[in-house]
């Protein structure tokens, strides 16, 4: 039983990171119906900036993380203006923006390769507190606790932001019908920029947690997880915050159980088998978004 509980904790911790990553994709999807692939590179840059500030320039960790999160948010806003905004009046926006964003992914990733000299780097030892909790034979490492709490807090904050604030209502209105929202006085461009900013910040939070938990920062950090993010969105439901969070946890737990009870060799077969099963049995995902107004 302790083994099952331990693997469940492992799965939830891993799934929390998947969820944070997918939440960024989901916000943009909900707002513009665009799969913003360059989000993967913004994710990597979040960790690269944190590394530059903390490991190279010796900034205090918390300050370095905060600045990295803000800069990743701004980078994503720049990506929006360069890659997406000018395509909005174009027919086939989704495809054009996807291809444009793919180009952005490649450029930003290659820039990260140059910044890191094609090396894998790490945050300094001791950036995350050591030790772990032992609850009934289940060990929860400090970084797992931090990851779980961060994911829950961000999920709740996003829900509050979208459900209980004027800003959230404007985001939903723009997602539902951009032109009508504009006629009603919503500044949709500002809303999109804000959504990209939030999405970029979320990417950096996820990337910093990856850097702390898995001890790795590389130019392709975001690309490593991008297919998993696809799976999370398919399972959870495109454009749904609840879906992205639940999908991330589910994929994380399935991944851990596959390793625990079948074999680590079959882990991806099982995870992506789940994706295919959801596509066949429930194409809208586990958390169906009844209509566009329910998104975000």
């Amino acid at each position: 039983m302790a083994f099952l509980a331990q693997q469940t904790v492992n799965g939830i911790a891993l799934g929390s990171i998947f969820a944070l990553y997918a939440l960024g994709f989901s916000l943009v999807l909900a707002n513009l119906k665009v799969f913003h692939l360059a989000h993967a590179a913004v994710f990597a840059w979040g960790a690269v900036i944190a590394w530059q500030l903390i490991a190279v320039w010796r900034w205090p960790s918390l300050l370095g993380f905060a600045v990295a999160i803000l800069l990743a948010g701004l980078l994503n806003v720049v990506a929006y203006y360069l890659l997406i905004r000018h395509l909005q009046r174009r027919r086939n926006l989704e495809l054009a923006a996807f291809i444009s964003s793919l180009g952005g992914l490649i450029v930003l990733t290659e820039l990260a390769v140059l910044a890191l000299d094609n090396k894998t780097v790490r945050l300094p030892f001791g950036t995350v507190p050591g030790g772990n909790l032992d609850i009934g034979g289940v060990r929860i490492a400090a970084i797992q606790v931090i990851t779980l709490i961060t994911a829950v807090v961000i999920f709740l904050l996003l829900r509050w932001l979208m459900d209980a604030t004027e800003l959230g209502r404007e985001v939903k209105a723009a997602a539902f019908d951009r032109e009508t929202a504009e006629m009603l006085g919503v500044n949709t461009e500002r809303i999109s920029a804000l959504v990209f900013f939030l999405s970029g910040c979320l990417a950096a939070v996820g990337a910093i947690l990856v850097a702390l938990a898995f001890n790795v920062i590389s130019a392709d950090l975001g690309s490593v997880y991008v297919v998993t993010a696809f799976a999370v969105l398919v399972v959870g439901g495109f454009g749904s915050i609840r879906g992205a969070y639940a999908g991330g946890l589910l994929i994380g737990i399935v991944s851990a159980y596959a390793t625990a009870y079948i074999s680590s060799s079959y882990r991806e077969v099982i995870v992506f088998g789940l994706l295919l099963a959801v596509l066949v049995l429930r194409p809208t995902g586990l958390f169906t978004v009844a209509d566009a107004a329910g998104k975000a």
Binding site: F3, Q6, Q7, N10, G11, A13, L14, L37, L102, L105, I106, T109, D117, N118, K119, T120, R122, F125, G130, N132, R139, A141, A142, I143, Q144, V210, A213, F214, N215, V216, D220, S223, V224, Y225, V226, V227, T228, S255, A256, T259, A260, S263, S264, S265, E268, V271
Partner: protein
């Protein structure tokens, strides 16, 4: 999760197009440079170096090792008597087989007499058929190669070291060994199979095997599985970065106190750079390590030439390769023949056990047979608290 598919596919596609585009215009290129194989006195070594990417932890020390060997060969006047000199042309593969193939083809066009690489098996396996076809010897630090009678020589001994290491693990740690094995490099499962064979002779056994892919970063579930198996020893058969990460996470999650840890012998001090204190005391049996008998002078000069960096087994492979090639070239010229790949091929095996290489080389018991599958007994070593790999004393 290790899905880099999208980006890798695009980049690979671009590289294939680039390679195809370049190939067409070079049909009339000169087959050999004036400093190349036949007739020339300057013999060029083509170095497929993994200076960036996943195997950079192998490539950097190997380059420093072979550069030092070439400097020593020049300073010693080793080839002066036969009126020859060595030069090396180094190209970075980025640790990818596709780049390595492109670079090898360039080397062939440039007329290099012999090629070397620090070597990871996927690159070695990609280059082997090209080396055979072009009859240019390829000396790699990798552990896997194609069958006998070819132009490939791999320096990593994937078998003999485990005959020696297994009894040590059983006596110092215990009989129950759990393994974490990388699956996208054929050398890693092979090493594990050979450890298993060694353990069975020593009263030990592998009680759990967990596989990981090179892109995997989260090992929490794998480590929980290992804890369930209650091992005395954990064997990690992956590249250095990943081995370091596994060790770091073992320390992070706890529960492995008192378990002896060991890694495959091709790793570098990057393991300790990644794992920090988690690497201290980790055991391995590389071909060579600082502290091995007769190595003080090499260590001192290597450190002096490289800003205090300590050499490792990859540096030793580079150094040894340099002296083996120099000796083979010398023998070819003394025999009155040209310094071609075909001429060098049998001489490389012969040179590995020659008096010259025994005198100047750093791994005295390294033997390259005609088959190319090198053997060496290795040096029982561990990671010190400062992160260096050093021979275990006593």
């Amino acid at each position: 999760m290790a899905n880099r598919g999208c980006l890798a596919l695009l980049v690979s596609g671009a590289m294939v197009l680039a390679a195809a585009g370049c190939g067409g215009s070079d049909d009339d290129a000169s087959p050999a440079s004036s400093s190349g194989s036949s007739g020339g006195k300057t013999v060029t070594i083509g170095h497929l170096a993994n200076l960036t990417g996943a195997a950079s932890s192998l490539g950097a020390p190997y380059k420093k090792g072979i550069d030092l060997a070439l400097a020593d060969i020049e300073a010693d006047g080793f080839l002066k008597g036969v009126g020859a000199s060595l030069q090396i042309k180094t190209e970075d593969t980025g640790s990818t087989p596709t780049n390595a193939v492109t670079i090898f083809n360039e080397f062939e066009r440039d007329g290099v007499a012999v090629t070397v690489s620090d070597g990871i098996s996927p690159i070695a396996l990609a280059i082997d058929p090209l080396a055979n076809e072009s009859k240019i010897p390829f000396i790699t630090g990798a552990g896997s190669g194609t069958p006998d009678d070819d132009y490939e020589f791999h320096l990593s001994d994937v078998k003999t070291q485990y005959d020696e290491l297994a009894p040590y693990l059983v006596s110092k740690g215990g009989p129950r060994v759990a393994a974490i094995v990388g699956t996208d490099n054929p050398a890693f499962p092979l090493l594990t199979a050979n450890l298993k064979a060694g353990l069975e002779k020593s009263g030990g056994q592998i009680v759990a095997t967990e596989t990981v892919e090179s892109g995997d970063t989260d090992f929490s579930s794998v480590l929980t599985n290992l804890q369930k198996a209650d091992p005395d020893v954990v064997f990690i058969s992956t590249l250095a970065d990943q081995a370091g990460n596994v060790l770091a996470q073992m320390q992070q999650v706890g529960g492995f106190d008192g378990v002896l840890k060991t890694v495959q012998s091709g790793v570098s001090r990057v393991v300790a750079d990644v794992a920090g204190a988690g690497a201290t005391g980790v055991v391995l049996r590389p071909a060579w390590a600082p502290g091995a008998p007769g190595s003080e002078d090499f260590v001192t000069r290597y450190e002096a030439a490289n800003s205090g960096d300590s050499p490792d087994t990859n540096a030793a492979f580079g150094y040894q390769s340099g002296w083996i090639i120099a000796t083979a070239v010398k023998k070819a010229l003394e025999g009155g023949g040209p310094v071609t790949g075909e001429a060098l091929r049998p001489l490389i095996a012969e040179a590995s056990t020659s008096a010259e290489v025994k005198q100047h080389g750093i791994i005295p018991d390294l033997v390259i047979p005609a088959s190319g599958a090198t053997t060496w007994p290795g040096v029982l070593s561990n990671f010190t608290a400062s992160g260096n790999i050093e021979a275990v004393k006593g």
